[in-house]
C-alpha cells in the first residue's frame, strides 16, 4: 500500500524499488523478394509514425569522385521527381502533415520521414518516388550547389567544425574518413552526372533498409510496404577497398588559428573500435565513467569543481570500418593547458586504478537506464533498430544490451581503458586565437598551426 500520510522531512534519499522489465514492442523483420530489408515496430503513443529508408553507402564510398558527393546527391534528390516538381513535393508533404529529410553520412544515406498514421500510404508513395524516380533537375542542382558553397564557407567559422575536421584528418590520413566536408573548389567541380551516377548505384533495394516505428497495425503496414516497394529492383553496389587509416604515434598538437576567438575549443582523440567489436559495450561504459555522463569524472572535475568549461564531454564514434574515441571542451583561453592536464589526468587514472565498486554500479545503472529511455519514443526506438540493422549486430542486441552492461566488472574497465584510451598517442586539436594559446598548447607535444582554410601556418 502506498503511504498517504505526510512523511517527515526525510534526510536520506529513498532506495530504489525493484525495476520493471522493458516490454518490447511488437516487432517484425522481413526481406522482400527484391532484397529490401524491412523492420516494423508498433508504438501507439501518438497517432503518427516515423520511418527511415537507409542505403548502406555514403560519402566515404565515393570520396574519390568528390568529397560530399553522396550528401549533394541526397540533397538534390528531394528537389524533383519524374512526377512532381520541387514545390509540389513540399506542398504534398505539408498536405499530409509530414516531415522529410534526406542526407548522407560517411557510411549511410538516408531518407527520414514522419507523418500522420491516417496518411501513411501517400507518404510511403512519396518516399518510394524519391528513392526510385528522382529527376535531378538542372536548375535545382545549380541552386543547391550555390547554396552548398555558402554553407561550406559558414562551416569554417564554427569552432566545433574546425576541430573535428582537423582531428579526422589527423586520425585517418588517406582513408576516406579523413574528409568530413568538401572544399569550395570541390563543390564547384560537382557535375549533375556525378549525382545521377551515385543515385543509380546507391539507391537500390538490395542496398536498402526500411525501418518504421509508430501507430500502425503491422500486418496492414506490411501490405502497404509490399504494394509500394515490391516492383523496385537493383543490385547492391560493389564495395571498394580503402587505404589503411593513419596510425599517428605520440601526442601532437594541432592549433587552428581563429583570430579574435574569446574561447578555445579543445578536441583530442585516438583510434578505437566499431560497434561490431566485442568490446563495444565495455568501451561504452568506460566512456560514460570518463566523460559520457553529467556525473562523470571529467565533468565533475573541469566543470563542477574548477569551472573551466560549460560543455565537457567524451564519446566513442563508431563509423562502419573504424571507430575513434574523443574528448572535448570549450574552455576559457587562460586554462587551455590546465584543462588538457585534467583531461589526461582522468584518462590516466582510469588506465591505472580499478574503478571503485560503488562508482561502477552507478555507471552500470546509468547506461542501462538511459538505454531504456531511448526506446520510449517513436524516433528513439527507430534509431536503435536502425543502428542494429545497419551495423549487422545480432537480432537480440537490444534485448541483451542491459545484461551485458550489468555483467561488467572493474577489471574489464581497467583493461578497456588501457587498451583504447590511448593517452600517449592522443592527437590534440585546439581551435582558438594563436597569440593567446600557442604557449600553452605546445606544452603537450609538437605543434602544427593551421588557419581556418587548412593552410599550414607553422
Amino acid at each position: 500500500m502506498m503511504a498517504t500520510r505526510t512523511a517527515q522531512w526525510l534526510t536520506e534519499a529513498p532506495a530504489l524499488s525493484s525495476e520493471r522489465p522493458v516490454t518490447w514492442p511488437k516487432r517484425t523483420k522481413t526481406r522482400l523478394a527484391n532484397g529490401l530489408e524491412v523492420i516494423l515496430a508498433e508504438s501507439h503513443a501518438i497517432p503518427k509514425f516515423h520511418g527511415q529508408l537507409s542505403f548502406r553507402s555514403g560519402n566515404a564510398a565515393v570520396v574519390d569522385r568528390g568529397p560530399g558527393l553522396a550528401e549533394m546527391t541526397a540533397t538534390v534528390a528531394r528537389t524533383g521527381t519524374k512526377l512532381r516538381v520541387s514545390r509540389q513535393i513540399e506542398e504534398d508533404l505539408r498536405r499530409i502533415g509530414a516531415d522529410l529529410s534526406s542526407s548522407s553520412g560517411a557510411d549511410t544515406t538516408g531518407i527520414g520521414f514522419a507523418g500522420l498514421s491516417e496518411l501513411a500510404e501517400p507518404l510511403l508513395g512519396l518516399v518510394n518516388e524519391l528513392a526510385r524516380e528522382a529527376a535531378f533537375p538542372e536548375p535545382e542542382f545549380e541552386r543547391e550547389r550555390r547554396q552548398k558553397l555558402e554553407e561550406v564557407k559558414l562551416d569554417r567559422t564554427q569552432p566545433s567544425f574546425l576541430a573535428s575536421e582537423r582531428l579526422r584528418k589527423v586520425l585517418f590520413g588517406t582513408h576516406p574518413y579523413a574528409i568530413v566536408a568538401p572544399t569550395e573548389s570541390q563543390v564547384v567541380a560537382y557535375k549533375r552526372s556525378d549525382l545521377t551516377q551515385v543515385y543509380q548505384e546507391f539507391y537500390t533495394p538490395e542496398n536498402a533498409l526500411l525501418v518504421m516505428v509508430g501507430d500502425f497495425d503491422t500486418a496492414v503496414m506490411m501490405k502497404s510496404v509490399e504494394k509500394t516497394f515490391s516492383a523496385w529492383a537493383g543490385k547492391r553496389p560493389a564495395i571498394k577497398t580503402t587505404p589503411e587509416p593513419a596510425q599517428p604515434k605520440g601526442r601532437r598538437v594541432y592549433l587552428v588559428h581563429v583570430p579574435g576567438a574569446v574561447q578555445t575549443q579543445i578536441l583530442a582523440g585516438c583510434h578505437a573500435i566499431t560497434r561490431k567489436h566485442p568490446d563495444w559495450v565495455k568501451i561504452g561504459l568506460t566512456n560514460s565513467l570518463y566523460g559520457g555522463a553529467f556525473n562523470s569524472r571529467l565533468v565533475m572535475n573541469i566543470r563542477e569543481d574548477k569551472g573551466y568549461t560549460y560543455s565537457p564531454r567524451s564519446g566513442v564514434h563508431a563509423l562502419r570500418q573504424y571507430g575513434y574515441f574523443s574528448v572535448s571542451a570549450a574552455v576559457r583561453n587562460e586554462v587551455v593547458a590546465a584543462s588538457l592536464t585534467e583531461m589526461f589526468y582522468e584518462l590516466d587514472k582510469l588506465r591505472s586504478l580499478p574503478v571503485p565498486e560503488p562508482e561502477l554500479a552507478d555507471a552500470r545503472n546509468y547506461l542501462s537506464g538511459v538505454f531504456s529511455m531511448s526506446l520510449a519514443t517513436q524516433d528513439g526506438l527507430l534509431s536503435q533498430l536502425a543502428t542494429v540493422a545497419l551495423n549487422d549486430l545480432p537480432d537480440d542486441y537490444l534485448e541483451t544490451y542491459r545484461e551485458k552492461v550489468r555483467a561488467l566488472a572493474a577489471a574489464d574497465l581497467l583493461a578497456t581503458a588501457r587498451k583504447y584510451f590511448d593517452s600517449a598517442n592522443m592527437q590534440i586539436v585546439v581551435v582558438g586565437d594563436r597569440a593567446q594559446i600557442e604557449d600553452q598548447a605546445k606544452l603537450f607535444g609538437d605543434l602544427e598551426v593551421y588557419d581556418a582554410q587548412g593552410q599550414n601556418l607553422t
Binding site: E19, H44, A98, E150, L154, P159, V262, T309, V370, M373
Partner: protein
C-alpha cells in the same frame, strides 16, 4: 481524425503546489518536472542573467543533498536531468526508470524546501555560465542571433528588453544574498507545479506528491513585474556586428496577438504559412525562387511556453551580392502578397493538417534523451498560466477552426512596420575581405 486525448489527474496541495499526474505504463520510465513561475522577464534590474544563473545554483546543493549529490543520485539511478530558463518559467526535470521515482521526488522536494549553497558554489557556476555564454554567443558565428539581439530593439519595458543571458558585470555583481532572496521570493510551492508523467498510477502519483511536498511551507505570493509594453508607433531598427560569420543576416520580428485569442490562433497558422520549412513562403521565395538567401525561416518559438509580449521572428542569412535593403524588400513582398491575396482554401487545409501533426510530435517529443518533455512543458505552462492543464486536449480546436479571412485579417493587422523590429547583423569589415 484520431484525436489523441490525454488522461490526467490535477490537484492542488494545501501549500499551493499544483500537481499533474499523467499515467502511461507503455514503458517502465517516468518523467518528472518542477516548473516555477519565474523567468528572464522577472529577474531584478541590475541583475541581468540572474534567473539563468540561479537555475544553475539549484543543482549546487540542498539541505540533505550537498553539491554533486543531485546529479549523482539521478545519473546513478539510470536517469537524466536538466533545467532550463525561459521568459516566464524555469524548469527542472528528470527522466528515469520508474523504480527511481521516489528518489527523484525526494530530491526535488529537498531543493524546493531548502537550497543550501555557498560562495564557492556561486563562483564556480558564474565561471561555468560565462563559458556557456562564450560557447553559445560570443565565440559562435551568429551566436545569440536573433534571440538576444531582437528584444532590446523591439521592446521598451526592461522586463522584455534586457540581456537574458546577462551582462558579465551583472553576473559578477550577483552575490549569495541575491541567491537566497530570489529563492525565498519565487521558489515557493505556491508558485510551482509538479508534473509526473509515465509509469505511475494517478492515485499513486498524487499520494507521492503529498508525501514529499505537502509539508513545505507556502510563501507569500510572489510579486510580478508588469510586462506590458507601451504602444509602438513606428518601425524599430538596430544593428549588431557579426564577428565570425561570412554572410550578412537580418531578423524581422512582429509582436504577436495576445495568447489564446482568435487572432493568436490565426497568427499561428499564418506563421506556418510563412515559416513551415521548405514549403513555407519565406523559404520558397527567398531561398528557392529568388535565391537571394541561404537561410530564411523562423516563427513563434515555443508558442505555448510564454506569458507576455513575444514576437514571430524571421531569420535570414543572405548572399552578400544582395544588399540588406534589397533583401528586406523581398521579405516585404512576401508579406504584402499574403496581406493582399490571402491564402487559398487548399493552403489553409494543408496548414491545418501540418499543424495538427506537429502538435502531436510536440506532445511526444523528447529533449536530450528524455521522453515526454514536450507534453510536460505544455501541461506545466497551461497550469501556471491558465490553471488548466486539460488545455492540452482542447487547445488544438482553436487552430483547426481558423478561417481564410481571419488569416488575411491578422496579416494586415499585425504584419505592419509599426508592429515590428528589424535587426541587421552584418559581418565585420575584415571578415568580408577575408571571405572574398
Amino acid at each position: 481524425m484520431n484525436r489523441n486525448q490525454i488522461a490526467m489527474e490535477y490537484t492542488t496541495l494545501a501549500n499551493g503546489l499544483k500537481v499533474v499526474v499523467v499515467p502511461d505504463a507503455s514503458a517502465p520510465v517516468v518523467t518528472v518536472g518542477v516548473y516555477y513561475k519565474i523567468g528572464f522577464r522577472l529577474e531584478p534590474r541590475g541583475r541581468s542573467g540572474f534567473a539563468h544563473l540561479f537555475e544553475h545554483m539549484m543543482f549546487q546543493g540542498s539541505a540533505n543533498a550537498p553539491k554533486m549529490q543531485h546529479i549523482k543520485l539521478i545519473n546513478s539511478s539510470g536517469g537524466l536531468l536538466n533545467g532550463s530558463t525561459h521568459y516566464d518559467v524555469t524548469n527542472y526535470y528528470e527522466a528515469m526508470p520508474s523504480n527511481a521515482l521516489e528518489r527523484v521526488l525526494w530530491l526535488e522536494a529537498d531543493r524546493m524546501r531548502a537550497l543550501k549553497v555557498d560562495d564557492e558554489n556561486l563562483r564556480n557556476q558564474r565561471d561555468v555560465v560565462k563559458e556557456e555564454v562564450r560557447v553559445n554567443v560570443m565565440n559562435q558565428p551568429y551566436g545569440g542571433f536573433p534571440w538576444l539581439d531582437l528584444p532590446p530593439v523591439a521592446f521598451r519595458n526592461w522586463a522584455n528588453a534586457h540581456n537574458f543571458y546577462g551582462d558579465f558585470a551583472d553576473l559578477d555583481a550577483a552575490d549569495l544574498a541575491d541567491v537566497q532572496a530570489f529563492f525565498k521570493t519565487y521558489y515557493v510551492p505556491n508558485n510551482a507545479v509538479l508534473l509526473v508523467l509515465g509509469d505511475v498510477k494517478a492515485d499513486e502519483g498524487v499520494a507521492l506528491a503529498q508525501k514529499y511536498f505537502s509539508d513545505i511551507p507556502a510563501g507569500a505570493p510572489p510579486p510580478f513585474a508588469d510586462p506590458r509594453e507601451p504602444e509602438q508607433k513606428e518601425e524599430r531598427r538596430g544593428e549588431v556586428e557579426e564577428k565570425f560569420g561570412t554572410l550578412p543576416a537580418m531578423a524581422i520580428g512582429y509582436t504577436v496577438p495576445e495568447r489564446r485569442t482568435t487572432d493568436w490562433c490565426a497568427m499561428a497558422l499564418l506563421d506556418q504559412a510563412l515559416h513551415g520549412g521548405r514549403a513555407g513562403r519565406m523559404y520558397r521565395e527567398l531561398v528557392l525562387e529568388k535565391q537571394m538567401a541561404v537561410e530564411a525561416d523562423g516563427g513563434i518559438g515555443d508558442i505555448f511556453g510564454y506569458n507576455g509580449p513575444t514576437q514571430m521572428v524571421t531569420r535570414i542569412l543572405h548572399k552578400p551580392e544582395y544588399s540588406a535593403e534589397k533583401t528586406l524588400a523581398a521579405f516585404d513582398a512576401v508579406i504584402r502578397e499574403i496581406q493582399e491575396q490571402g491564402i487559398s482554401e487548399d493552403e489553409l487545409n494543408q496548414l491545418k493538417v501540418k499543424w495538427r501533426s506537429d502538435y502531436y510530435s510536440t506532445l511526444e517529443g523528447g529533449r536530450g534523451g528524455m521522453p515526454r518533455y514536450g507534453l510536460m512543458h505544455l501541461l506545466a505552462c497551461f497550469t501556471l498560466f491558465d490553471n488548466e492543464p486539460q488545455l492540452v486536449n482542447s487547445i488544438l480546436d482553436g487552430f483547426l477552426a481558423v478561417k481564410r479571412d481571419e488569416i488575411q485579417a491578422v496579416a494586415r493587422k499585425y504584419l505592419r512596420p509599426a508592429n515590428r523590429a528589424v535587426v541587421f547583423r552584418a559581418p565585420a569589415k575584415a571578415n568580408v575581405k577575408e571571405a572574398a
